[in-house]
């Protein structure tokens, strides 16, 4: 289980994440939603130790992320941040293989190779696997990064805006992949999503942030309500139930 206790991030006088305490449910998909600048990405980065906290602590399976050895954590938790700009020319397969680094330490075994092939397949990258990353489109590259993180095969997978740059088909297929991985392998995903409807349709648990604090959390039907969303986004958002899903119609 991932547990955040009084986590705070401060840049000078500005509080970006303000004393957040949270227990993330084990298994399934948890999505963090909220307006720009709510502190979603910052919280995710601090939980995954890629950004230092100003105060508070985070426990993953009882291990403090600040003091636990990095390679130990890397076998339990994986993070993909947004805006990954790689200057290195690596092929898709090389990149995905580096996802096995915490397990293989640079010497991939046959089992590691199987993980790599499976991750490449899951993200529909078979035809692109020998291509260099700088020869791919933004969406294809994003899928390669997600494949790398999935290949790390951790119990907890944190993805910041995984749908960034993906077309509709690949966005749907990625969410379906995550859903399958959560259902069949018992993995726990924590996502930061901008698309309310993807969050609503695929998540078991929603966390709505605003001004560095957790404003609301609960299941889709608890969060996908006009009064809740108005408080989060300052916007009138009508909600309709379509085929059992709660859908926000906020385009007009």
């Amino acid at each position: 289980m991932i547990e955040a206790k009084n986590v705070t991030k401060r840049y000078g006088p500005t509080l970006v994440v303000d004393d957040v305490s949270l227990r993330f449910p084990v298994g399934g998909i948890t999505s963090i939603i909220g307006p720009n600048g709510a502190g979603k990405s910052t919280l995710l980065s601090m939980i995954s130790r890629v950004l230092p906290m100003s105060s508070g602590n985070v426990l993953v399976d009882g291990l403090d992320v600040v003091t636990t050895p990095g390679d130990e954590l890397a076998r339990r938790l994986a993070i993909l941040r947004q805006d990954n700009h790689l200057t290195s020319r690596l092929t898709v397969r090389e990149l995905v293989t580096f996802g096995r680094y915490p397990h293989s330490k640079g010497r991939p075994t046959v089992k590691d190779q199987e993980h790599v092939e499976r991750a490449i397949q899951h993200m529909g990258l078979e035809a692109l696997s020998a291509r260099f990353l700088d020869e791919l489109s933004g969406g294809q590259r994003q899928r390669a990064f997600v494949a790398m993180v999935l290949c790390q095969d951790t119990d907890y997978v944190l993805l910041d805006e995984p749908l960034n740059g993906l077309d509709l088909k690949h966005a749907v297929s990625m969410m379906k992949q995550l859903r399958t991985a959560a259902n069949t392998l018992g993995k726990s995903f924590v996502l930061v999503l901008h698309d309310l409807n993807f969050a609503s349709c695929y998540s078991d648990h929603l966390i709505a942030m605003r001004d560095g604090k957790v404003a609301f959390q609960g299941r889709s039907e608890d969060i996908m309500r006009p009064d809740v969303l108005r408080a989060v986004y300052d916007l009138e958002i009508a909600i309709q139930q379509i085929n059992g899903d709660w859908i926000a119609t906020h385009y007009r």
Binding site: S48, R81, S88, T91, Y101, F132, D134, V149
Partner: protein, 320 residues
């Protein structure tokens, strides 16, 4: 693998040829006749072979040092000669020469290495502080920093009447290499092998700090290791033969074009390519004005700048 062996064979052939180039007559016949020419044999053992080894060691290690710099700075356009490392190393040798002239070469090298370490670390620190760093800002910062070190060096060299020596450190020249005066360079081979052993870590560092942390590695530790390797290699080259420009820039960039940046795969190619590049420059420098010589660094500057311009224009679509 086949291509690698072919490339290595071509360079071995060049190496063999280079043994027979020079004012003193050393030929196959004079060496392997029933009554070998003593003088020719001496020239070969004392001058030609050490020179060849120095060329290969410098090419290999500077090429790999350039590759490491590019991964540490996450930018294709930096190398020890343009990021303050070589300039601060020169300043270090100057300090050692002016303040402790009786220091042996090893001592001077260590002083130079400390200066190079500080200079390169300063470069990386400045980079961390620059928000929105663009592809071209990074090498510019390196050039500016290098020029600052350079002007300090020139000022004190002028005061201590050491301008000529400074020039020797800055311009790589293999004509003075003799047995007993280049052996320090063997250490660079050890450092190159260290870089190869840690190749995967350097590739990961080249992906950035978040990726490195996510994969369970200590970013700062790997950067420190890279800095030490780059600084020691630079210092040794500066002290023994002098800097070779463009090598650390050109060779890794060419290799990256067709091999990519997975260091495990590219380091052997960079090593072989670097050795070949310096060897070629040295041979050209020895034959264009025979019996006189032009320093290898000068030839490297001419060939390197032309080739690099070509590469820059060719791949500019991908630079941004």
């Amino acid at each position: 693998m086949k291509r690698f062996i072919a490339a290595a064979a071509v360079i071995a052939l060049l190496a063999l040829v280079s043994l027979f180039i020079g004012v003193s007559n050393v030929s196959w016949d004079s060496l392997f006749s029933p009554s070998p020419d003593e003088r020719a044999l001496q020239v070969l053992v004392i001058s030609r072979i050490p020179r060849l080894l120095a060329v290969m060691l410098v090419g290999t290690s500077l090429g790999v040092a350039g590759l490491l710099m590019q991964m540490l700075a996450r930018n294709r356009f930096v190398e020890p000669a343009t990021a303050g490392s070589a300039e601060s190393a020169s300043l270090g040798v100057l300090a050692a020469t002016a303040l402790a002239p009786q220091l042996p070469v090893l001592g001077k090298m260590l002083v130079a290495a400390c200066f190079a370490l500080a200079g390169t670390a300063l470069f990386l620190l400045i980079l961390r502080r620059i928000p929105m760093r663009s592809v071209l800002i990074v090498p510019l910062v390196g050039l500016v920093l290098g020029s600052v070190f350079d002007s300090v060096t020139t000022f004190f060299a002028y005061r201590f009447d050491l301008l000529q020596s400074v020039n020797a450190w800055k311009t790589g020249d293999f004509s003075t290499v003799l047995r007993g005066r280049y052996e320090l360079l063997w250490v660079t081979l050890v450092l190159t092998l260290c870089a190869y052993v840690a190749a995967d870590r350097f590739t990961v560092v080249g992906m950035g700090e978040s990726f490195t942390t996510n994969l369970g590695l200590r970013y700062s530790r790997i950067v420190a290791l890279g800095l030490v390797i780059v600084s020691l290699v630079t210092a040794m080259v500066v002290v023994t033969v002098g800097m070779i420009p463009f090598l650390g820039l050109l060779v890794p960039n060419v290799v990256s074009l067709f091999m990519g940046d997975n260091a495990r795969k590219s380091i052997p190619w960079v090593a072989v390519g670097g050795a070949g590049f310096v060897l070629l420059c040295d041979i050209i420098g020895r034959v264009v004005r025979f019996p006189y010589e032009i320093p290898g660094a000068t030839i490297a500057g001419v060939i390197g700048s032309g080739l690099f311009l070509f590469l820059l224009l060719r791949r500019d679509a991908r630079v941004g």
